[in-house]
Assembly symmetry: C2
Homo-oligomer: 240 residues x 2
DNA sequence: AGTAATATTTAGTCATGACTAATGTTTTGG
DNA sequence: CCAAAACATTAGTCATGACTAAATATTACT
């Protein structure tokens, strides 16, 4: 039996069709999600908190990302990073994977909407282009995931909605829920129980029972719900 | 902003529901697949070739697997390894994942049968118990994957068919294809084109055009195909 | 049985991507 | 405007899981 193996070149080969390392993807996605207006810097600490790692680890990685060819981020020492063109492209691929997977889990595998995030978070790194294409086709190329977030197109284009939070509404004002944060399952279960989901119209009632709480009327019904400030911040709305 | 993060304990946490490391899974699966009769040893070199890594790396890992609590393998220095009870349990979980995913890709996402293996190979490590349960339900708890391999039950039970290869048939003998190897896509495309798949009855023709080639009649038709020795070895049959 | 060929193991290295502790830079507030 | 606090970076460590080269054990053959 031959002892020399054909090609143990594990340095060169990339496994499967998923092209990058899991860690790099997570950084790029974090930077994308934390960076609000297109061109401002995200700090190491923000990233560290988002990823539950130490700031030192972040600095270390940011330098590597900036040193890639082509660079994935623009890194201003002591001031933060933003995504380069290629970094943004790659981040959007991951976001597309994530949101397609969430939609797929919900529509095809009947996952409740509070459970899709966790599973998608893991799978998004490992699906091939083929898989992505197949589920997109199966779902009829959906534009939004179960939480109302837009799914980037294959070319990375994304309808840039300006995100206005429910907490910014004036009393009496009415708006339609465009999306809700997918991060906290418990919150999602609460919202589902109240009938609050993307597409539903909410009206902020006049009276605020106490500071930091929001009472909203739901749809055309007389039903209403009481929302904490953090809950209100997790709901994005489109006025009119 | 607090600089102390809640829990950067990355040593303790396991990510998602997938409990083990990718590498360990691959070793256990390799040992499972290479170990023919339940209780014989698999050599480092066999494993190395199967995984396309060097034998030294294998030895290194086998020692770690044997040192786990509970041990995942029984390691006889210089002679090989076999799976322990827990090692076999875990290997069967991965095999179950793999075969369920293959079936799912084929049935639900319309993958051609020669492409399912590669994708499943990557995904098998990262799906949760929930995902496994959902696709099994969606598929009606299938017993076989697209290549005819039995899918282990959740408790790890597996109908131990005795594998007889087509190459072991006598001329004139007839048998039903039970499974075909899923490793080589090109081979699978060839077999599909010839109409050879699990469930099809084959009859080994009397005359062998030259040593190491097999001519078989396919089903009840008059069609026949010529198979190389390695092809014949990749087809498992059940004689009547 | 003894030696060559084959297979396996040891020892030491490398890359990745975390970590801590110590140090340096910015920002803030008196 | 300068010191303390907050934040970021450096330097060095660790675990994982590959690798190569060298040493050792097993097997096979004369």
């Amino acid at each position: 039996m031959a002892n020399h193996l054909s090609k143990p070149s594990h340095t060169t080969e990339r496994k499967g069709s998923a092209s990058g390392s899991e860690a790099i993807d997570d950084y790029l996605k974090a930077i994308f999600q934390l960076g609000g207006p297109p061109e401002d810097l995200v700090s190491s600490t923000e990233i560290a908190i988002h990823l539950s790692i130490t700031p030192a680890s972040v600095t270390n990685m940011l330098q590597k990302l900036a040193a890639q060819e082509p660079p994935l981020v623009i890194y201003k020492k002591h001031h933060g990073v933003k995504l380069s063109r290629s970094g943004k492209k790659r981040a959007l691929e991951i976001v597309r994977h994530h949101r397609l997977i969430e939609t797929f889990l919900h529509q095809v595998l009947d996952y409740p909407w509070d459970e899709v995030h966790q599973e998608a978070e893991r799978l998004e790194h490992f699906i091939s282009e083929r898989f992505e294409e197949r589920i997109a086709a199966k779902l009829g190329h959906p534009e939004f995931d179960p939480h109302g977030h837009a799914i980037p197109a294959m070319d990375g284009s994304l309808p840039h909605q300006q995100p206005r939070s429910l907490s910014q509404l004036r009393p009496g004002q009415s708006a339609k829920v465009s999306s809700v944060s997918d991060k906290d399952p418990e919150m999602l279960r609460y919202l589902a129980a109240q009938g609050i989901r993307p597409g539903v119209r909410l009206t902020l009632s006049e009276q605020l029972p106490f500071k930091g709480a929001y009472q909203v009327r739901i749809g055309t019904s007389t039903k209403s719900a009481l929302l904490s400030h953090s809950l209100a911040e997790a709901i994005s709305v489109a006025v009119k």
